[in-house]
């Protein structure tokens, strides 16, 4: 067994063609056992840890965080400490990555094989004594007729047709040879086209030459995650008829309720946790909003699985609080804290990101009064929550200072018409105004 081992970009699943390194978790010089984490690789929206498939000392890292590499590419070298640097250098220089691409090789297209199937050469006689008649004495009926007409003795002819059969051309040649006359008109069998005659592989037009890095211009390729987010947002805005409804709610009662909860409980609860709970209960009362539109089918769900937005260094993620309607505000707060933390460190798994029935996006912490969000298909609506701010309100006919918050519902007009959307916000406002109902 070689004591220098290559660590390559792993193939996770039959379709994976490349992965982006998000960071190295092991360092050069570190001794690793089987299963120790080495680096994190991102594909689509998930980041997975690559574990050491064999034991050894990490001697060299040759791949960079922030870059994507094809499956099979060399990422690092593990070896015994006794192996010299020069040997590691030589190993790296001589390394050949596995060819895992599904694309055809870049060579020019091979000549087209003749249309008729190539007959398999008859196996060695010892193999299977076939009892079907073999090629000896076989003549094409056209050749036989021609031979008869020309008075040619077939037994004198060696056949060059399929399986050694005597062909018309063979008879013509024999006749010409016999009579010494010019050979019969050349047969018109089309020869296999020469490689030059075959159209070269179509050149895919190169993208317009991108400017090299110049002063003032910094080029950075979008990560797979960003690309995916981008594609989905574009699809959403292009295909869903968004419209927006806004409602400002007065949250003094809710804030007092939250104070009480935080005073007595061990769990710290935020305004947004209360909003999530209110939204979840609301969704059960407005089943058209707790739904997915798939093609021309509307799927309504019995459970309110509410996603909430988390800003991470690499992009916006929306982890899901499953069955939020069945969780108390405190339980929601616990779930949110856990999910948000893992979202920021890139440790969410797919079932924690997929399958939400509704999304709540809260940018209040950034001081925005109001904003509107883009729906995540196949969901049919999304709620944007602004900051809670002091503002003048009218209470019992007099001016007072209230704590207001503007909610903006973006809804899919194909499924939720104005009245339904407004109704949803009305119920939500009521709930938030009566926190005892949460």
């Amino acid at each position: 067994m070689s004591s220098i081992r290559a660590l390559t970009m792993p193939k996770w699943g039959i379709e994976m063609q490349e992965g982006m390194i998000t960071g190295w978790t092991a360092a050069v010089g570190q001794t690793l056992a089987v299963g120790d984490p080495l680096l994190d690789v991102e594909t689509d929206k998930i980041v997975n840890a690559v574990e050491a498939p064999f034991a050894g000392t990490l001697r060299r890292i040759v791949a960079n965080a922030g870059t994507a590499y094809p499956v099979g590419a060399l990422l690092a070298v593990l070896a015994d400490p006794t192996v010299s640097e020069a040997e590691v250098d030589a190993f790296i220089a001589g390394f050949k990555p596995a060819q895992t691409s599904f694309e055809p090789s870049g060579d020019t297209v091979a000549p087209v094989v003749a249309v008729a199937p190539t007959p398999a050469p008859p196996p060695a006689a010892a193999a299977m004594p076939s009892e079907a008649p073999e090629g000896e004495g076989r003549v094409s009926p056209i050749a036989r007729r021609l031979a008869q007409k020309l008075g040619i003795d077939l037994s004198q002819i060696k056949g060059t047709g399929p399986n050694g059969r005597i062909s018309k051309e063979d008879v013509e040649k024999a006749a010409a040879a016999q009579s010494g006359a010019a050979p019969a008109p050349a047969p018109v069998a089309t020869p296999a086209p020469s490689p030059a005659a075959v159209p070269a592989v179509l050149d895919v037009p190169a993208s317009p030459a991108a400017p090299a890095n110049t002063a003032g211009v910094y080029r950075e390729r979008l990560t797979p995650m960003r690309q995916t987010i981008g594609r989905r947002l574009l699809a959403s805005t292009q295909s869903i008829p968004h419209y927006r409804l806004e409602r400002t709610v007065e949250l003094s009662a809710l804030l007092a309720y939250r104070e009480r909860l935080n005073g007595q409980g061990r769990v710290r609860v935020s305004v947004n946790d209360c909003v999530l709970r209110a939204v979840a209960l609301n969704l059960l009362e407005h089943p058209m909003v707790n739904a997915h539109l798939v093609g021309d089918e509307l799927l309504r769900f019995a459970s309110a699985d509410v996603a909430f937005a988390v800003a991470t260094p690499t992009g916006l993620l929306t982890p899901v609080v499953r069955s939020a309607h069945a969780l108390s505000v405190a339980e929601i707060a616990t779930r949110v804290r856990d999910l948000a933390g893992r979202a920021r460190s890139g440790k969410l798994v797919r079932e924690e990101i997929e399958g939400a029935t509704f999304t709540v996006s809260n940018l209040g912490m950034y001081g925005l009064d109001r904003f509107d969000a883009i729906i995540n298909p196949p969901q049919v609506a999304i709620l944007a929550v602004g900051a809670v701010r002091e503002a003048p309100i009218v209470r019992d006919g007099a001016l007072a200072v209230g704590h207001v918050c503007t909610l903006t519902l973006s809804a899919d007009h194909r499924v939720i018409d104005g009245a339904a959307g407004a109704g949803f916000l009305a119920t939500l406002a009521d709930r938030l105004g009566q926190p005892a109902t949460l």
Partner: protein, 328 residues
């Protein structure tokens, strides 16, 4: 689990050979799991880890003239039927000197000379073929049999029902072994098998059927012995449902989102047939050192297999159109 130390009808030698077979399958599959991630192995593989006691329990009492027909998860059956391990590894790597000259791969791995009539990429494709082989056995009159491996997935295919009925009607010696590992692709057996009773279905077709713990080599072997007695005597087909688990996904790369998070971890501890065998090995007069020696031996063999496979050349282009026919 039997604690009667005189219980096994197998000699120590046969027991050790059975253990060696199971260990070979386990290490073969575990190593493949690692090597697949290098990208050097093309296409689909379906790993058998967790089900070794079934393949070996069923194949141990078979002779060289008995036949088996396998499934897409066929490495275990292939090894248990005595196929060349290195040739298998080369085939899975798609090399010219693989068991099938690199033309079949993991899902079509076969050695007809050893009575292994092929892994089959078509779910349910095997049992009718096994019944045909059993017709040949019956006509020869030499007491040989065929085994049709299947799973909780294939047991819902029409072809499997047809095969069972045909075997009963013609009274041919096919032993239907259903490996119930709990999942057919990404769907659980509790959902997919309507009656919830695979052995019961086979019985309903008119053959004796029993259900055993597929993680207990001795239990599987005993059931197979009963099945062989029945089939070799010309009484017709028999069915065994063996319940186990698969440690890996349906195919390599399957993220297994349909399994609870720590299910595999728990099952590797509680449902490991090799662990089960080792735990009771002392009852059969086998000590740990002997088993450890076998383990080391097997690991060396697998190492050699991978190393040789990686160095073998791929098939030449000229092989593309050979072996389509005997003569054309």
């Amino acid at each position: 689990m039997s604690t009667d130390t005189s219980a096994s009808p197998l000699s120590t030698e046969r027991l050790l050979q059975a253990y060696r077979q199971m260990r070979t399958i386990r290490e073969f599959e575990e190593r493949l799991h690692v090597e697949i991630q290098t990208g050097e192995i093309p296409g689909f593989t379906h790993l058998y880890s967790g089900q070794e006691a079934i393949a070996v329990g069923v194949c141990e009492p078979l002779g060289p003239n008995d036949y088996i027909v396998s499934t897409h998860r066929g490495h275990g059956h292939c090894i248990a039927k005595g196929c060349d391990v290195i040739g298998m590894m080369k085939e899975i790597y798609g090399r010219a000197d693989g068991l099938c000259k690199g033309k079949g791969g993991s899902m079509h791995i076969a050695d007809v000379t050893k009575g292994m009539l092929g892994a089959n990429a078509i779910v349910g494709g095997g049992p009718p073929i096994a019944v045909g082989a059993a017709i040949a056995c019956r006509n020869r009159g030499d007491g040989t049999v065929s085994v049709a491996f299947g799973g909780d997935g294939s047991c819902n295919q029409g072809t499997v029902f047809e095969a069972m009925n045909l075997a009963v009607v013609l009274k041919v010696p096919t032993i239907f072994v259903y490996e119930n590992n709990g999942y057919s692709e990404h769907t659980g057996v509790d959902y997919a098998v309507g009656s919830g009773d695979i052995a019961g279905r086979a019985a309903a077709f008119g053959m004796p059927a029993e259900k055993v713990d597929g993680t207990d080599f001795h239990a599987v072997h005993a059931a197979m012995t009963r099945a062989l007695q029945h089939a070799r005597a010309g009484h017709g087909p028999y069915a065994i449902e063996a319940v186990a688990t698969r440690f890996y996904g349906h195919f390599e790369g399957d993220p297994q989102l349909y399994r609870a998070k720590d299910e595999v971890k728990r099952q590797r501890e509680s449902m490991d047939c090799l662990g089960n065998f080792c735990r009771t090995a002392a009852n059969y007069g086998i000590d740990e050192d002997t088993l450890d020696e076998i383990d080391a031996d097997v690991l060396a063999l697998i190492d050699r297999a991978v190393s040789e496979a990686r160095q073998s050349p791929p098939p030449a282009d000229s092989e593309l159109t050979t072996d389509v026919y005997v003569a054309y």
